[in-house]
């Protein structure tokens, strides 16, 4: 039986210009299904993944922030968002959707650059796209 490892998926790109974020989300959900401790980190343009008000009906693509809500159903540990990346893009916590964690809380946690650095340096496996 493999041990439970801490895996961090680092997302630094926005939702619709490429398939990277969608693919990363799917792999993260697979990891959670295999009972690994999965977290996501949203840095740089990655913070746009959870921006409120996304409407992709005319684009013909899956709405990303809605897809992210599945993370709450798969026992994903945390979605970390870097505050400095938000601020650089004129955004704040209330500009982001929340993800219910199944226990009345929000899976999304806004942290400073120093906090994000600690998160990156405390995982067993780092995956980028």
């Amino acid at each position: 039986m493999a041990s439970r490892r801490k895996i961090l998926f680092i997302n630094r790109r926005g939702p619709y210009g490429s398939v990277y974020a969608q693919e990363a989300l799917e792999v993260a959900l697979i990891g959670a299904a295999f009972e690994q401790e999965i977290s996501l980190a949203l840095i740089d343009d990655g913070v746009f993944l959870l921006r409120k008000g996304q409407d992709t009906r005319n684009l013909g693509m899956k709405q990303f922030s809605a897809a992210y809500r599945a993370l709450g159903d798969f026992d994903v540990h945390r979605v970390y968002v870097e505050r400095e990346s938000l601020a650089a893009r004129g955004m704040e916590e209330e500009d982001l959707v929340t993800i219910a964690d199944g226990e009345g809380g929000n899976l999304v946690e806004i942290i400073s650059s120093a906090g994000m650095s600690d998160v990156i340096h405390s995982h067993d496996i780092l995956l980028n796209q």
């Binding site: 840095i43 650095s117 600690d118 405390s122 995982h123 780092l126 980028n128």
Partner: protein, 104 residues
Amino acid sequence: MKAAVLHTVNKSPFEKDSLNTCFRLARPGSEILLIEDAVYGALAGTRMENLMRDALEKYTIFVLEADIEARGIAPAALIPGVATVDYAGFVDLAVGNDCVQSWL
């Protein structure tokens, strides 16, 4: 538990923000390896030089030898303090840390 992380960057800082993000989030004392187009960031006399010199106070910074050679960058053209490694050195850096973070 704090893991030792090798940070690699492969995009030119004149094209993408990956090197800045690496410098913002890498823990002081970390080893950073510039590969592919990221080696342009280690060239002396560019608008990146001050940022690189500040970073050299906090990190050990390497460039991959094959990538500077291919781009016509002699070791003497690098910002002082930047070290070069060959492919075997790259492997040593990877196995010498607990994991690798690739800033793409």
